[in-house]
Amino acid sequence: MREKPRFPKCYKIESKPHKFCPGCGHPLVLKMLGEAVDELGIGEKSVFLVDIGCSLLAWDYFNLPTAQTHHGRTIPVAIGFKMADSQKVVIAYVGDGGAYAIGLHHTLTSCLRNDPITTIVVNNTLYAMTGGQMAPTTVNGEKTTTSPEGKNEEAFQTLHGPEMLTGIANKNAFLARSSTDKPLVLKQYLKKALETQMDGNYALVEALSACPLNWKTDAKETIQRLQELEKVFPLGEFKR
């Protein structure tokens, strides 16, 4: 018996193989998102908006209306789209730099307003596309090109996005973190996040992700590092 590899139905097959580096966590997050969209049957009404940085490489990943915008500005674009067409399920796909540094005020404000959009943050603890610089999510001791001595948490705390938002989120909002090491859990969270939007509420899911290129890790070390990160960034749902 032969079985064809099964891609999510909403995949744009013409754009495969994808543009991400080997070992990158993005394709796993996107595959789980694609399956979540398929399983919820919302392919016809989903709109996918991507940031710059590595997430921009997903600009033609899906057969969904997709637009690539700027550093953190994906969130306001998503809000504008949703206000204009409330029947759509609008997804803002951003990195940790976009969501927690350059676009942090957009993340905070959209959570404060309980905007019915779904923000997916792919957190690999650094700026990957630009060559591995320090981000607000860079962990204590982590060496990056702009923290060559290792980041000192005494001088710059590590930002925990979903936890931070618990202080300001609406009681019906959905906040969660999973890992590309646990893709099926991630998919469940993504589904919940999309359902939360369809119920009219704000949702943010952070996906811990790997960047072997900038981490300078081989396959085994990459998985190990991801699992270590799961101790710094606890997985689960976060309630107000």
Binding site: K12, E44, V47, L49, I52, L56, W59, D60, N63, L64, P65, T66, A67, Q68, T69, H70, R73, I75, P76, V77, A78, I79, G80, F81, K82, M83, A84, D85, K88, H105, H106, L108, T109
Partner: protein, 352 residues
Amino acid sequence: MIGSSYNGIEMTEFLMGNRILARAAFNAGAKIMFGYPITPASEILETWIELSQKDPSLKSLQAEDEMAAGFSTIGACLAGIPAFTATAGPGNILMQDAFSMAEALRVPTVAMIMQRGGLSTSTVIYSQEEVRLTCFGGNGEGFRIVYSTASPQDLYDYTLKAFKAAWQYRFPTFILADGYQGKMKGVVKMETKRGKKDKNVVPILKQGVNLRNCYNLEEEIGEVIVNYSDEYNRVREKIEEAEEYQMKDAKVILIAHGIVAAAAKPAVDFLRKDGIPAGLFRPITLRPFPTRAFAKFLRQVEKIVIIESALGQLSELFKAELYWINVPLTEINKPAVGFTPEEIYKTISSLQ
């Protein structure tokens, strides 16, 4: 030149400029305004919110900053809903990120720019220091439509045109006014109801569309820029607009835009009384510049006087387009300060 369609019954009102702009956006078919408070533009958002209290089909969002307001305007336009924003000065600077992307993705955003003083924070009152920024404020070539208004009626008429032009040509479009025009009250004729739905207003980001403005190769984006430029040049004559006052036999041509042009008009009358064959050429579209309209006067012009509340931002536009003219040119520049007709008259008289 784009015709404005009058559908409803007209009524005359005495209104503040910023309130005219919001009412005009409503009549133009706008559905959502995204804004962030800044003097001298804030009443536009306030008036829009008042309108949306009466009409539940209208929406508004006071964003967290101008970047969010600009990008949310893009989001709504992508969904096929006429949306707009308004700002001034430092807010205009912040919004350039969004306007630059609107150029790149060909998104028909409409923005009302109420020029306040420049440099930087400056005054909250008036200048013509945002010409360059509004026309070319991006890392690109200025594929934009910029209408410079000179009266309360202009604020109304060109807002209607701005929405029409934006969706017809898909270039980000601006109504460039200033704090004087925004805060001043004046007489305006307006329709009592909104116009018919524009057939060009359709969803942009729909099934089967993947939009990017990030490219791998120099040649790829180079080709996009050339294609946009070709398209811009192909349609620019349909968009270009200028007002010509006493130009038929004018030999001394005054060039001014916006409210300075309004002050230059009586100055032309004063000069004519003294026997000086003066005329006023007022570019209404600063982008695209009404080059062809001016070219008609190349045979008769003996002297050009450019008057503006900035240090040469208008004359820079003029020179860039009409560089071959070998005619004496004088610039009267009062950066961030307004003009009276009398002083324009006196200054030009002293040049004769």
